[in-house]
């Protein structure tokens, strides 16, 4: 049980450290693509902006999923 929790925490911490590297990249991406100017960008750009907006939440969900996976595998659930 303790090892499972440790595993979960290890995955979470390492994953969030990884997310930190993504944050400025996402900001640069949004600024360069002018994602806030909905009236001036093209539909394709809008779609790319949406993917960019979803990146960080997606990675966080992925890290949490991996962490939960680590717990369940340890506990043989």
């Amino acid at each position: 049980m303790g090892l499972a929790i440790l595993s979960f925490l290890a995955v979470l911490i390492i994953g969030l450290m990884f997310v930190n590297f993504l944050l400025p990249e996402v900001t640069t991406f949004r600024t360069d693509m002018s994602c806030s100017s909905a009236d001036t960008i093209s539909d394709g750009t809008k779609l790319l902006c949406l993917f960019g907006d979803a990146t960080v939440p997606y990675v966080i969900v992925l890290i949490i999923s991996l962490g939960i996976g680590a717990i369940t595998s340890r506990l043989n659930i």
Partner: protein, 861 residues
């Protein structure tokens, strides 16, 4: 004959002279008057004219003569009870010759200050050594004893005289009685039977008749009268205790209240009270010392006692300002005067009464009034304060009056009443008001007689015609008869708040109907509703004009009937611009008959908004429709149709309109959350397909009400916008509105301003961008597309979960549906709210469905 008349007149004059002036002391029949002012020597001067009856002091030497405070008035004689005495006569034994000529009546008046009650002689008129003589007056204990005509019979005073104090004594004899007066007051009377006094002799002071028993007293102002004195003489001699010198008139003391006047009403609470102090007479060496104002309430309770001191002279006045409350009072003044030896006080002539309250100047009302009439009641008064809480109490009912100032202290209370129908006969009323919170006043009761007011068919009682109705055939213009199936006349004399109604009908044909009024000198305001017809040949018409004034100058009205073969029924339906029925519209129809413009129809629309007229379809008729709040509608037509719809316009207010009809608008920014320190374009686009929009606009403000900016436009819809930097605001609220048909319709929306320092990467950014991209258009997905997308998300989510986990329960499925709708509607606000729907209505609807299913599940479970 002439002489007889003269003597008669002289006699009458003398008679009047003796009768009419007994109110004042006359120094007549004074046998001797001694003031003892000599001061030295042995001679005692007689003050009467000629000094014919001087006296002689024996053994008294200089010590017997006193003056100043030791005496009553001027100087006096002090006889010690050793061997001092004095006599008045030619010798000790003989009186003066002229005393022999006097009658048997006599009086002695003197001031005496006895130093002991030893039985001793005071005054005797006898030959010493013999009997009591004509009279002997002695003192014993605290009484005086008078013996007459050598008789030992004693006549005494009642009560007691004083020792070491001045007393004024009058003792007198008139052959029938002996009277005593002590200090100006009648003391006693005793019957005597002595008719003739003994032989005359000298008057001796200070010894008994036998020459012994010397008295010990001081005597002043001794008078020997050969007549009796009346009460007024004695009062004058007493002179309020100050004594009276020979020949003087007693001093009259006058304490005269000069202000306020007796029975006056004062109009101020602060008033100056003045008292005049004076005295008349010959002894005017008195001076006024003080004056005390006494003020009582009318019930006798003392209100104020104030003494003014420091007065001087024998004629002066005092003034004192008093501030009193409202009410009725009594006033008197008590002033004191004195000289070196004597002091006394005197009240004013009588109590004065005065009031500090209102006085009535006038009251106006009609002695006779009438039912339904306006009666005005006016009270004009002078008041020390503004009246408050003023009422007219009419037959026990209080009516608040109008209080008007006429300037200064003059006020008017007025009230106009509409006389009800229940007060015929004698009525009483009065006015009441307050001058302060604790002082109320009211008038006396007034009377008014109320008479009947009758408007009815003329008869033996109702004889003065006001309204005469005749009938004509509209086609032939000839006079015809008519019956009255029903009629009501609402009438009144006043303002209409009280009315009476005459109900009249007549089934027998009449050529005319005349209505009279009683009272016959008034103007009647009448609203008739008069149905008239002539059998079946002439259908009923209604005469229902507006309220009309009728006077005793008879008003003749001709009403027209139209034959059943000549007319048709025409219905006029009145509506407003919103197609709503309008009731209460005064409708009338006029046409020219024999060159005279004649009203042939009149009525009022009912609740169904219609009015029916029997009219001739062959002639042009002018129809007019009037109602307050609407533009008058007039139309000239030949009424060939059975019905017409009239639309009244220009109404000032219309209720029940749907001002959202045809209205749509767009508000931007669409996202609910705005980034801080970012400029956004706030815009409002309004579309109207039904109403004419007069004005629309919006304002941006903070939660505390601070307006940041605003925009508006006076066009029929359109686009308006402003750019605003969100700065570090936390919330921005937009109040937007539009005006149609002068009706203001407004809404509110708001945005949260988010600090974007650390949220540029949140999933909310994804949904905000999604929202704005959908609004601005992405791949052609419009609002419908948005709904479709969300539907597919819901369908797939619920379908997958249901299939994956075997969830088939309606409750579970509706719970998932509610959760997803809640997420899209409330959390990320992807679902737009329909116009006029409450915000997040879809969330509420799904929640309601969930609750219903839960309840059903619970009931079946």
């Amino acid at each position: 004959m002439k002489n007889k008349i003269l003597f008669l007149m002289l006699g009458m004059f003398l008679l009047i002279g003796t009768l009419g002036f007994t109110s004042a002391l006359t120094w007549t029949n004074v046998s001797g008057y001694w003031s003892f002012d000599d001061g030295s020597g042995t001679n005692i001067n007689d003050n009467t004219t000629g000094s014919l009856h001087n006296g002689t002091l024996v053994n008294g030497n200089e010590l017997a003569w006193k003056s100043g405070a030791s005496c009553k008035l001027g100087g006096c004689l002090d006889l010690l009870a050793s061997n001092d005495y004095a006599f008045f006569g030619t010798t000790l034994t003989d009186g003066y010759n002229d005393w022999n000529d006097y009658g048997n009546n006599f009086a002695l008046s003197f001031w005496i200050n006895r130093r002991s009650f030893t039985d001793a002689g005071i005054i005797t008129k006898s030959i010493q050594g013999n009997s009591y003589g004509q009279f002997t007056l002695s003192g014993d204990s605290n009484k005086m004893y008078l013996r007459l005509n050598n008789s030992g019979t004693v006549y005494t005073n009642t009560g007691s005289t004083n020792i070491n104090q001045w007393d004024f004594v009058v003792v007198q004899y008139n052959q029938s009685f002996v009277n005593y007066y002590i200090n100006g007051v009648f003391n006693s009377t005793q019957a005597v039977t002595v008719n003739n006094l003994a032989n005359d002799s000298s008057i001796i002071l200070g010894v008994y008749f036998n020459g012994g028993q010397n008295a010990n007293y001081t005597i002043d102002e001794l008078g020997f009268w050969n007549r009796t004195l009346n009460a007024i003489d004695i009062t004058e001699l007493y002179n309020s205790g100050s004594g009276l010198a020979y020949g003087d008139a007693s001093t009259s003391i006058l304490v005269n209240i000069t202000s306020p006047s007796n029975n006056s009403i004062l109009t101020s609470t602060s008033n100056l009270f003045n008292v005049s102090l004076s005295m008349t007479g010959t002894n005017l060496d008195y001076e006024w010392a003080n004056n005390t104002y006494h003020i009582w309430y009318s019930n006798g309770t003392t209100r104020n006692v104030t003494t003014i001191t420091g007065l001087s002279t024998n004629s002066t006045s005092t003034s004192k300002l008093f501030t009193l409350g409202y009410g009725n009072y009594l006033l008197d003044s008590y002033a004191c005067y004195n000289n070196a030896t004597f002091g006394n006080c005197s009240w004013g002539t009588s109590n004065y009464s005065f009031g500090i309250n209102s006085s009535i100047n006038s009251e106006t009302h009609n002695a006779v009034g009438y039912e339904t009439a306006s009666e005005t009641y006016i009270l004009n008064l002078t008041s020390p304060a503004i009246p408050t809480n003023a009422y007219l109490v009419y037959n026990g009912t209080s009516y608040s009056t109008t209080i008007t100032s006429s300037g200064g202290s003059i006020y008017t209370l007025s009230k106009t009443l509409q006389i009800p129908t229940s007060q015929i006969g004698s009525n009483t009323f009065y006015y009441k008001w307050n001058l302060s919170s604790t002082f109320a006043e009211n008038t006396t009761t007034y009377n008014q007689y109320i008479n009947n007011t009758i408007f009815g068919l003329c008869n033996a009682t109702l004889t003065i015609p006001y309204l005469n109705i005749t009938f004509k055939d509209e086609a032939t213009n000839g006079y015809i008869n008519a019956t009255v199936p029903s009629s009501t006349f609402l009438y009144y004399l006043g303002d209409g708040s009280i009315t009476k109604t005459l109900t009249y009908s007549q089934t027998v044909n009449q050529t005319n109907y005349t209505f009279c009024g009683l009272p016959s000198n008034q103007t009647y305001h009448v609203n008739p509703y008069f149905q008239y017809k002539l059998g079946t040949d002439y259908p009923q018409r209604i005469w229902n004009p507006d309220l009309t004034d009728y006077t005793n100058s008879t008003t003749n009205v001709t009403l027209y009937l139209l034959s059943s073969t000549d007319g048709i029924y025409v219905t006029f339906q009145l509506v407003n611009t919103a197609d709503q029925l309008v009731s209460g519209v005064a409708a009338s129809g006029t046409r020219t008959i024999n060159s005279v413009l004649t009203t042939i129809a009149s009525g009022t629309t009912g609740n169904d908004g219609s009015v029916v007229f029997w009219v001739n379809p062959d002639f042009e008729t002018n129809f007019t429709f009037i109602k307050s709040g609407y533009t008058t509608y007039t139309t000239l037509l030949i009424p060939t149709q059975s019905s017409y719809t009239i639309t009244l316009s220009g109404e000032t207010a219309v209720t029940g309109y749907d001002y959202s009809r045809g209205i749509s608008y767009i508000i931007n920014p669409k996202e609910r959350d705005l980034d801080n320190n970012t400029i956004y374009n706030f815009n409002y686009t309004l579309y109207s397909t039904y109403w004419d929009v007069e004005n629309f606009g919006f304002s941006l403000r903070l939660r505390n009400g601070t307006v940041l900016t605003s925009a508006s436009s006076a066009t029929n819809g359109g686009y308006i916008s402003v750019n605003l930097n969100t700065s570090n605001y936390t919330r921005i609220i937009m109040d937007y509105y539009y005006v149609t048909n002068s009706t203001y319709t407004n809404f509110t929306t708001s945005w949260y301003v988010i600090d974007t320092t650390y949220n540029g990467w949140s999933i909310r950014t994804f949904f905000n961008d999604l929202n704005s991209y959908l609004d601005s258009g992405i791949f052609g997905i419009d609002e419908f597309g948005r709904y479709v997308l969300i539907f597919f998300v819901i369908f797939l989510s619920i379908g997958v979960l249901s299939y994956k986990f075997g969830l088939t329960s309606p409750v579970v499925l509706s719970a998932m549906l509610f959760a997803i709708i809640f997420f899209f509607d409330v959390v990320v606000e992807l679902l737009p709210t329909p116009i006029n729907a409450i915000p997040h209505s879809l969330t509420f609807l799904s929640a309601l469905i969930l609750i219903v299913l839960l309840i059903k599940e619970a009931q079946t479970g």
